[in-house]
């Protein structure tokens, strides 16, 4: 295993197919190219968007993905994505890094929710909590949360991924009851489910979005007051360019070229400012690191490359642009000042 990884590092610039692990060799090299560490379904979106005409909205709605697939989308592309959809649950395959990221994400979400809500039931620590998994893909993160007792709704615009997720969880009666999937976008959902969730999880999603304001606003809409928002994404630094783009995309080919756009990365400070402007307060930010040799993630002090963020929706009524002013009299509630 180590020798394979080292060989790839050394000869990273040569043709990929020669050094691929035989277990994950796919039929065609075009299919090879679509491998991703992040929520590739959203990246797929990104690429589809680039292929379509300017008539479509620049926001990440693409609610016409189904009609698009019937009219303008290349049937070869559809077939390719269908083949990829079934690779979600190959634990040693293209999505291995996403599966191993669960070792960090699930305890992070679980422990922070336990801090807020306390343990509900022995054996099912998250029982009674409703969680929304945005960009769930094949359900890699939704299933562990469901096993911990939460009621999970996973949404993803790509129908094939949603179908794969549904099929995979259908065999287990525990999951069947607790984890549901829907092929739609966050905007569509936000209209129906106002203040419906105790937590929203957007893991490896925001680095692919064009309109973060809309995203944050929808999150704020669907969360109950005091609800939690969990985001994992990539920082915008020189180091993340070297490791996240150069090493991951060009040298090691962990992620296909063009998946990530460094301009779209967001630093924790900017993300914090953004969510705070929509009525959240950031409770924790932690750095994460992927070790390509062992295939394992670990927490680290520095947020220079990957990081995870936990924010809580403020309980009081909050308008964007509002600032709470200190009250001179402690008995009086603070005066609000509107800056419009």
């Amino acid at each position: 295993m180590y020798s394979k990884k080292l060989a790839r590092l050394a000869f990273g610039l040569l043709a990929e197919s020669k050094f691929k692990c035989p277990l994950t060799r796919s039929a065609s090299s075009r299919v090879n190219a679509v491998r991703s560490v992040c929520s590739w379904t959203v990246c797929l979106h990104h690429r589809q968007k680039n292929q379509l005409s300017e008539g479509f909205s620049r926001r990440l709605t693409c609610r016409n993905v189904r009609t698009v697939s019937q009219t303008t989308l290349d049937p070869n592309e559809v077939r390719k994505f269908q083949a990829m959809a079934s690779k979600w649950w190959d634990l040693q395959g293209e999505f291995a890094a996403l599966h191993s990221m669960n070792d960090l994400r699930v305890p992070f979400i679980r422990d922070n929710l336990l801090n807020v809500h306390g343990i509900q039931e022995l054996g099912k620590p998250l029982a009674g909590l409703r969680i929304l998994d945005v960009g769930c893909g094949g359900g890699v993160l939704s299933e562990p949360l469901g096993r911990l007792g939460a009621d999970v709704l996973g949404i993803d615009p790509v129908e094939d991924s949603v179908r794969t997720a549904e099929l995979h969880s259908s065999y287990d009666p525990d999951l069947r009851e607790r984890v549901r999937y829907q092929a739609c976008t966050l905007e569509e959902l936000a209209e129906e489910e106002v203040e419906g969730f105790h937590a929203v999880v957007a893991s490896e999603v925001v680095e692919h979005l064009a309109d973060l304001d809309a995203f944050a606003s929808c999150c704020q809409q669907v969360l109950k007051p005091g609800g939690s928002l969990f985001i994992t994404t990539i920082n915008k630094t020189n180091l993340s360019y070297v490791f996240g783009i150069l090493a991951a995309e060009q040298l090691l080919r962990i992620v296909p070229s063009g998946t990530h756009d460094w301009e779209k990365f967001i630093s924790p400070e900017d993300l914090e400012r953004l969510v705070e402007s929509f009525g959240f307060y950031v409770e924790a930010i932690r750095g994460m690191m992927y070790n390509p040799l062992t295939g394992a993630w670990s927490w680290q002090q520095s947020t220079a490359i990957n990081y995870a963020l936990h924010a809580i929706k403020c309980k009081e009524e909050f308008q964007p642009g509002q600032v709470w002013a200190e009250s001179k009299n402690l008995d009086e509630p603070g005066q609000t000042t509107n800056y419009s």
Binding site: S86, W89, D90, L91, L122, G123, K124, R147, D172, P173
Partner: protein, 487 residues
């Protein structure tokens, strides 16, 4: 010769681990049974196949774990339920030496109280000596105050654990008199239309499904065989004769005795003030002869095996006593006086049995959705009394691993945490098994060079307290206490 054996074990164990780490562990043939659909009330989270000491302890341990509350666990046992309202008058011949670590595990399960109420014998000292020389080594905690280990009948252990299981019936079910006829393994990849669980077909025709199968079905494990897990094994040319001995006179029977004869070790383990258990490992032929002897001749054979010096040669005696003198100059307090075990007057009625001995080690303890523990994974010579303790160590660690996996929302049959269990236990078990095998081979000969080597070795180890203390600590580290993490 034994270095080769050790190396072979190590290479097979670790080599396979390295190669298989990232590759999935597929099965040789994986059948898809499309006829039987998964009916919800027959899907279990964990099925344990085999209800011996280790299997029942595993069921208890999983049932008591807080992170596994709500999981459906099933124990399948081919025999009948072993209940013991009162202990029978006569002792049973199959006993085990339970180390303090195993006793801690059993008391954590709540079974140790039942065992203490039924019958168990602590012993404080162990004397191990050679038949071919005067070399001996004694193990004891200072001044015989603390208990070194306990001799407990196997039936008592199983009965105590069964009693504990009855308090967990809400989520641990047990099916007795249930034999498994077939296992069908799942594909490691998720293929649509195939059942992703392990299918267990019983003799009565029912099929059960489980997310994780734990094989605790003994040295001839069907789970291990059906899963196609390669096993390194060989038969020793030895059988063990076990019997219950009546001592000539009551004594404060708190010492375990073991003498290495050229044909094999003979051990006397205390059961009470008047009775002890015999485990005599010897060649097949001699074992059969011993079974044929009448009671008096058998008793004479036992006493002479422990007491006679016919195997001493002059060379070895002289060399041995010179070495001992040298050691006593260097370390004046060292050396222990050789004591002789109590003499035997008779044996328990109808209590002579023999069974063949062998060594076995499964090169892998796990597959996708399968884990094997206890004798199914490792089978050792009884000379060190560690077989049961290694099994209890497996129980403790596997429970810890599964508990943590459940708290992280993982699929219980996933390879990642099962690999962690396998690595950790192989790291513990392989050195112990290699050492036991080495001891057995070292003491199987009376050729002078080997005798001199082991004489000096034994005397030196006895004389140097740091060496002996390290050996004791190493022996007892094999069943460490494990605390599962949780909320």
């Amino acid at each position: 010769m034994f270095t080769f054996a050790k190396a072979k074990l190590a290479v097979l164990g670790t080599g396979r681990r390295c190669v298989a780490r990232r590759a999935f562990r597929g099965f040789a043939s994986s059948e898809r049974d499309e006829e039987s659909s998964t009916s919800d009330n027959q899907l279990f989270d964990i099925i344990i196949s085999g209800g011996g000491m280790v299997g029942t302890a595993m069921a208890c341990s999983l049932g008591l774990d807080p992170n596994l509350a709500g999981k459906k666990i099933l124990l399948l046992e081919a025999g009948h339920k072993k209940e013991m309202d009162r202990v029978p008058e006569t002792y049973s011949t199959r006993v085990s030496s339970i180390s303090p670590g195993s006793a801690t595990l059993l008391s954590g399960l709540g079974a140790w109280d039942h065992i203490a109420n039924m019958r168990c014998k602590p012993y404080n000292k162990m004397q191990v000596w050679d038949a071919c020389s005067d070399a001996l080594i004694t193990f004891d905690k200072d001044n015989l105050q603390e208990e070194m280990a306990y001799i407990v009948e196997n039936d008592v252990i199983v009965a105590a654990l069964t009693k504990q299981l009855q308090t967990l019936t809400d989520h641990v079910k047990v099916q007795y008199r249930t034999k498994v006829v077939k296992y069908i393994w799942p594909r490691p990849y998720h293929v649509s239309e195939s059942i992703p669980w392990v299918q267990v077909t019983l003799a009565n025709g029912k099929t059960l499904h489980t997310k994780l199968l734990i094989g605790a079905d003994g040295p001839n494990s069907m789970v291990r065989r059906e899963a196609g897990i390669p096993t390194v094994k060989w038969n020793y040319d030895q059988s063990a004769v076990v019997a219950v001995l009546h001592l000539s006179e009551p004594t404060e029977n708190n010492v375990a005795w073991q003498r290495f004869l050229p044909t094999g070790p003979i051990a006397m383990l205390p059961l009470s003030d008047t009775e002890s258990s015999l485990v005599w490992s010897t060649s097949h032929q001699h074992a059969e002869e011993l079974l044929q002897l009448d009671e008096e001749s058998f008793v004479d054979a036992i006493n002479s095996a422990f007491w006679s010096n016919e195997n001493h040669s002059e060379l070895v005696e002289t060399a041995g006593s010179l070495f001992r003198t040298a050691l006593s100059v260097l370390m004046p307090d060292s050396g222990s006086a050789r004591q002789l075990p109590p003499s035997v007057a008779g044996i328990g009625p109808k209590s002579r049995v023999m069974f063949p001995l062998g060594m076995g080690h499964a090169t892998e303890y796990i597959r996708h959705r399968v884990a094997i523990i206890g004798d199914a994974a490792h089978r050792v010579h009884p000379l060190a009394g560690q077989g049961a303790n290694l099994g209890f160590g497996d129980v403790a660690y596997l429970t810890k691993v599964l508990s943590q996996a459940a708290f992280n929302g993982k699929d219980l049959g996933a390879m990642q945490h099962l690999l962690e269990f396998e690595t950790e236990r192989q790291r513990h078990n392989l050195p112990m098994m290699a050492a036991i095998d080495l001891m057995k081979r070292l003491y199987s000969t009376n050729a002078a060079p080997m005798v001199l080597l082991r004489t000096f070795g034994l005397q030196a180890t006895n004389a140097l307290p740091p060496l002996k203390a390290t050996l004791m600590k190493w022996l007892h580290s094999f069943t460490k206490r494990f605390q599962p993490e949780g909320p």
